[in-house]
Subunit: 373 residues, 2 copies
């Protein structure tokens, strides 16, 4: 599987099981965390820096005033003696632990994570149904159109409404033929199709694609250029009236804020797709949402990347715009609970404590192997 | 040892020995590389991602048309299938290998690295003497003034002219007392003293310090705030007429360019201190210098961070503004060749092939242990 920039055949990730001394319903509470796709396993940073710092810290310093793990205190502890800037693999490693901490906290409070987030940060409001869209639309060597259309049809059959496809891995004319073919399947509803260049284009190419796709009224044009090239995005957006989506490769609040400040993004139109399982985790994600608010960004403009259950919990509990989903790829980490139902692009949130990893048998058995023996 | 933000007692780094099949003067050519201080060892990323990608690539694809290793091809190869953005630990790991590649190439060409760089990128021009200044001026618990003054006096005795001290690790009034004490040693020559906040300040505090130090005419005010907070720097600089120095925590050309575009930096006054042994190495450093040129940044405004021999070679061969030096700390990686002479803040470049690591016995014996047995 490949996008316009990278091949995923050697992609790896890290998983962490956080075994607490808490017992609920007769069972030890264990929090589970993993890194979202695209940024590789972080065993070195986890084992050499982040985990030792946590284990060397007196437990009391990691707890809130109810003696429950405090995600922010864990974050501060594991990032002690780290220099500012340079938010890359370290941010991914921190996100793995941060996910396990939030999973544990929700389980200790005996709430689904979405409800915990709703109670803590959203005045008890939440969305029972969350908009999910499949990240996909890959290249199929030799079967570019047929392979793509079959994949898209499968998403529609699964109940999705908005779908997304890769661009930039072929010529503009070939990509336009791929787009036209998918639009046909979608009944020519451009608003249900997003395209994703995975940051590959320079300005000239980004503009060429923009000119061709603008009349189609697509859902969004994702990652046209390098995620740190704010000038490119500013210039592109000044000539493109459709929506743009960015953020999966912005691994800190600073990087997202800079995109918002300098990239020409429009808070009433564009989408921010920071991944709560990549850039220092949900803790940093929550901070980013808050810090973007005064810049005009409503929660509904955030649609987390990654296609994992964490994104779905955050989207439901904070009433975001939706979340990505990977029903077919990145197994076992991508995708929601087993046998989850999607109707008209919406899915219902689960009712189990924590993130819900126990509802996904393949990944749960992987985590269970960590804590047994 | 600590600065305003981090404690260095658990700092680690990675070293790499690149054994080639080339022989010069009867000896196998081996290139040596290490990561600059501040960003920890990168064994995981090196062993799991970067080194395997190089070893899996047909040697021919890593060579230039003279069949000598091509640093840019090695860089592209080791970063294959890495997503854009997120320039952190990965950039440091790449820099370790990149240094070893450049050291090997210079040895294969039987030239000091500074001469190779001069020939390749600077029309054969170079500086025989390079301005070096010691990174230092630490906090001494209980002996704040005396400890600091002793350290500074040692630098002057060693032959340095410009010195640098940490600020932001104490109150403004205590820091000002430390600054006044050092200025006394320097004969009140503010232009020979730089101060370094290591990115700690928010805007208000950065401005308070700026107001106090502005009349002193200091050499520069280094890393006032977070290296990704361009707005802070822009606002600070609009109210501070002295020079500012930034860049040691910008680990990619994109991050440095964004600083130049949005941080309010003045190409005729401020300094850029990107570290060629951190952010994807010398290969990326050269690219950054080139890409900043059209924005008005002359080579003389670059003064690499890190205090290592690589920085000295780059400064000499490209005629930069100078380079940092660590005569007393970060042993064995900080500091220049053994018994190097500094006079009036200048040092002469060495005449051995490569970076000159063989001239530094402590680090050379460490590298030798890698290749023996």
């Amino acid at each position: 599987m490949r996008n316009a920039v990278i091949d995923f055949s050697k992609m790896t990730t890290s998983i962490v099981a956080l075994v607490t001394d808490q017992v609920r319903n007769g069972e030890t509470v264990i929090g589970y965390g993993f890194g979202s796709n695209g940024r590789y396993a972080q065993g070195g940073i986890l084992r050499e820096r982040l985990i030792p710092r946590i284990l060397e810290t007196p437990p009391k310093e990691l707890l809130d005033d109810r003696d429950i793990l405090d995600p922010l205190k864990v974050q501060t502890t594991m990032l002690a003696n780290e220099k500012p800037g340079g938010h890359g693999d370290r941010a991914v490693a921190a996100a793995v632990i941060d996910m396990a901490v939030w999973d544990a906290v929700a389980k200790i409070e005996e709430k689904p994570l979405w409800r915990l987030l709703s109670d803590k940060f959203n005045n008890g409001k939440f969305d029972e149904e969350v908009l999910v869209y499949p990240g996909g639309g890959y290249y199929y060597d030799g079967r570019e159109i047929d392979g793509l259309c079959e994949e898209m049809q499968r998403y529609l059959d699964l109940g999705y409404r908005i779908v997304k496809m890769k661009i930039g891995g072929a010529s503009l004319s070939k990509d336009m033929a791929r787009i036209e073919a998918v639009l046909k399947i979608l009944g020519d509803k451009g608003e249900n199709l997003a395209v994703d260049a995975n940051g590959k284009f320079g300005l000239a190419e980004a503009l060429e694609y923009a000119k061709e796709i603008e009349p189609l009224g697509l859902a969004w044009y994702e990652e046209p250029g390098d995620p740190l090239d704010y000038e490119l995005h500013r210039k592109l957006i000044s000539q493109y009236d459709g929506a743009v989506a960015i953020g999966e490769n912005s691994l800190s609040h600073q990087d997202v804020v800079n995109f918002a400040l300098y990239g020409g993004l429009r808070p009433n139109l564009d989408w921010i797709q920071m991944d709560p399982a990549l850039g220092y985790g949900l803790t940093e994600y929550l901070h980013t949402i808050n810090i973007l608010k005064p810049l005009g960004w409503a929660k509904k403009r955030h649609v987390p990347h990654g296609g994992h259950q964490l994104g779905m919990n955050v989207a439901a509990g904070l009433q975001l715009g939706g979340t990505e989903s990977y029903p077919l790829v990145f197994k076992p980490f991508g995708g929601l609970a087993d046998n989850v139902l999607i109707e008209n692009g919406l899915t219902k949130v689960p009712e189990v404590p924590g993130i819900g990893i126990e509802l996904k048998s393949e990944i749960f058995s992987l985590f269970s192997s960590l804590t047994q023996g």
